[in-house]
Symmetry: C2
Subunit: 147 residues, 2 copies
């Protein structure tokens, strides 16, 4: 079933005139199969077995291309490095204060908030972001150490 998403994504890339290189394909495939919102470095490390000569710059380049085409979203939190999400459907995130885990979380879009923000601030609103923080179930059980 993940095959379908991959093929659709490749189709999108082709339509945008972007070449499907082995490295690009691998980054895309890894993201599609990943549920953990990985960092650029995590992707790099995960693929270095298959592509021993791949540069970390290639990962960044491809993430940028995928983002520009709309296949990938970049998530920027306080912690140093960006995370990448190929689930571009509308959804929010819950983040563990302890281990950093990021979990998808569906909720009806907060349109009223956007509308009110527009009224109050005079902004022409395009979108919003929301994250809920807390302790994940795993970290609740044990008194787990940080990270």
């Amino acid at each position: 079933m993940s095959e379908k998403r991959l093929n659709q994504a490749i189709e999108t890339l082709k339509e945008s005139g972007v070449r499907i290189t082995p490295q690009r394909h691998a980054v895309l495939e890894y993201l599609l199969n990943s549920m953990v919102h990985p960092t650029a470095d995590e992707i790099y490390k995960a693929l270095e077995g298959k592509f021993p000569n791949m540069s970390v710059a290639t990962v960044y380049n491809n993430l940028k291309v995928l983002r520009e085409v709309g296949l990938v979203r970049e998530l920027t939190y306080g912690d140093s490095s960006s995370r990448f999400d190929c689930n571009t459907s509308d959804h929010y995130h819950t983040i563990c204060n302890n281990c950093g885990k990021i979990v998808d979380f569906h909720y009806p879009p907060l349109n009223e908030v956007e509308a009110l923000a527009e009224q109050v601030t005079g902004f022409d609103v395009s979108h919003h972001r929301l994250e809920v923080y807390g302790t994940c179930p795993d970290c609740q059980k044990v008194g787990t150490k940080k990270h």
Copy 2:
């Protein structure tokens, strides 16, 4: 009137056993008078006239202290550097896609979202963050260039 907030903040620091140095006082005062959620570097540059020998490390050190005491909140967005907000009351932010301006924006806390996130994900929720993005009134008028 800003005097009052400054004195209260200084009182909080004293109670925490933190020394009130001239540099610390200046950083705090600058933040209290600033409406623009400045970066560490902006604070550093703003104070270099008054403290020509101050190190940028001092700014970071003091921001850390002020944060730990609860007088300052750190805002982390996608753009490289953190921003600092000494308005610790509950409020959200609206951010301009074009010029990066950050505007306070009051709205009743989204408790229902937190409650549902708890139910759905099993997290023990502590807090959430929300930002609304769009084009600010100034940038709507003119076809202003980025940044």
